[in-house]
């Protein structure tokens, strides 16, 4: 009501959709190929970075976030933030449990 002026949502050109699709497909192949190589801890990093880029493209274009009110953007950011809190604060426990060891004698 306050944020948008168009009565009909933004119409994205079909060509853009197809382009996004092509990028997503390419990235799927990339991530599989990269996983076959051994680059140590970077395997995880690459896999997650690719997944995040793919997810961002889907959210921005397929889900029209780019053309949505700021409030929608805030919702997505909030979801990410609280998911991060859940994961991050839980890991503060698991990652630091071994720090305090008692020689005990």
């Amino acid at each position: 009501m306050q944020e948008t002026t168009e009565s009909v949502g933004h119409i994205v050109p079909a060509k853009l959709y197809v382009t996004i699709w092509a990028i997503l497909m390419a990235m799927t192949i990339t991530t599989v190929l990269v996983a076959r190589a051994d680059i140590g801890p970077f395997n995880v990093v690459v896999a997650l970075v690719i997944a995040t880029i793919k997810a961002t493209l889907v959210v921005l274009f397929f889900m029209h976030l780019r053309y949505s009110p700021k409030l929608t953007m805030a919702t997505v950011v909030a979801a990410m933030f609280f998911l991060f809190l859940l994961l991050g604060l839980t890991m503060t426990d698991y990652l630091t449990r071994a720090w305090l060891t008692n020689p005990g004698y």
Partner: protein, 328 residues
């Protein structure tokens, strides 16, 4: 000793005074703020009642006041935080040289095993003035070891060891409660901590018929279960030499380093594949389901004794065992 209406728990450990001191401070601060709020409400309600004060004075708010009652409580809280954390960290770190008692909790009883192999059920005998470290685990649900007079509490978990410690300062008999709800007879899972004069404690200790120390029981198990065939006391074994391992960092196959504490020994027996020592193959079979909690504790005590023996002999023979077994 108990009157009809005690309002405060006994103080029978070195730490109890510290906890109580902070507790009194918290009570004082809380009482101040509670009385402040109650008094303000009462005064305002009487002074500005409709019959004497028919026209309210509209006030929007006040930034200085808001800042004051945000920052002052925050500052006070930080004092509590610092003090409370200091106590907590003391509780978390048993002092060196503490006598060790192993505890197994199960529905609904406590079993204790002393270093000399003596056992106790629902009673824990300790000498006054000695540091006592408890190494605890549960056979079933989660329990919690709680001695109000010592101001200590620690959950007792299945599948791993937790520890706590105390130094009793007063001879007497104190409640031991299970404070983590654990089923039907949760409220029956109570026992006693009996703090004795050292001499009486010695007498009690020698009175029991034990079949050898905990570590020697562990040594027997170590032979019986066949551990000794691979974990030999030289560098030729298929498993790491366990002499002097306890309490030291261990380099793992995947590059991580862990401290060989009680939980590490435990995991290595039950899930040998989880953390492979560098330079060894994951060939050890699991002993899951084959060793009871008591036997696990005996094995841990044995491995620990290997390190203590080595430490004692360290002065004479320092180079025989490397810190990290087989770290090439």
């Amino acid at each position: 000793m108990w009157k009809n209406l005690p309002l405060f728990p006994e103080r029978a450990s070195a730490l109890a005074w510290q906890v109580d001191g902070l507790y009194f401070l918290l009570i004082a601060v809380s009482a101040f703020f509670t009385l402040l709020i109650f008094a303000l409400i009462f005064v305002f309600a009487v002074k500005y009642r409709r019959s004497v004060h028919p026209h309210a004075v509209q006030i929007e708010g006040s930034l200085p006041l808001e800042l004051a009652w945000t920052l002052i409580p925050l500052g006070i809280c930080m004092i509590f935080f610092a003090w409370g954390s200091l106590i907590y960290f003391q509780e978390a770190r048993p002092p060196k040289g503490a006598m060790e008692v192993y505890a197994v909790a199960k529905q609904w009883m406590w079993k204790f095993e002393y270093e000399n192999g003596q056992r106790d059920i629902n009673q824990l005998h300790v000498p006054v003035g000695r540091d006592v470290k408890l190494i605890m685990s549960s056979q079933d649900a989660i329990h919690s070891f709680f001695v109000p007079a010592f101001r200590i509490k620690m959950d007792v978990l299945p599948g791993r060891f937790t520890t706590t410690w105390f130094r009793p300062t007063k001879v007497g008999t104190y409640h031991l409660f299970c404070s983590q709800y654990c089923g039907t007879d949760h409220s029956g899972m109570i026992g006693q901590v009996i703090v004795m004069e050292p001499a009486a404690y010695q007498a009690w200790m020698s009175g029991g018929a034990s079949s050898g120390t905990l570590a020697s029981n562990g040594q027997q198990l170590f032979q019986q279960l066949g551990c000794a065939t691979c974990h030999r006391f030289d560098t030729q074994g298929r498993g790491p030499n366990l002499t002097g391992v306890f309490g030291k960092p261990v380099l793992l196959e995947d590059g991580r380093t862990v401290i060989a504490d009680e939980n590490y020994i435990r995991e290595s027996i039950l899930i040998p594949g989880a953390k492979i020592v560098s330079g060894f193959k994951p060939i050890m079979p699991t002993f899951q389901g084959q060793v009871s909690e008591e036997n696990l504790m005996a094995l841990v005590a044995y491995v620990k004794s290997l390190a203590q023996a080595q430490q004692k002999g360290a002065a004479s023979d320092n180079s025989s065992v490397p810190d990290t077994p087989n770290s090439q």
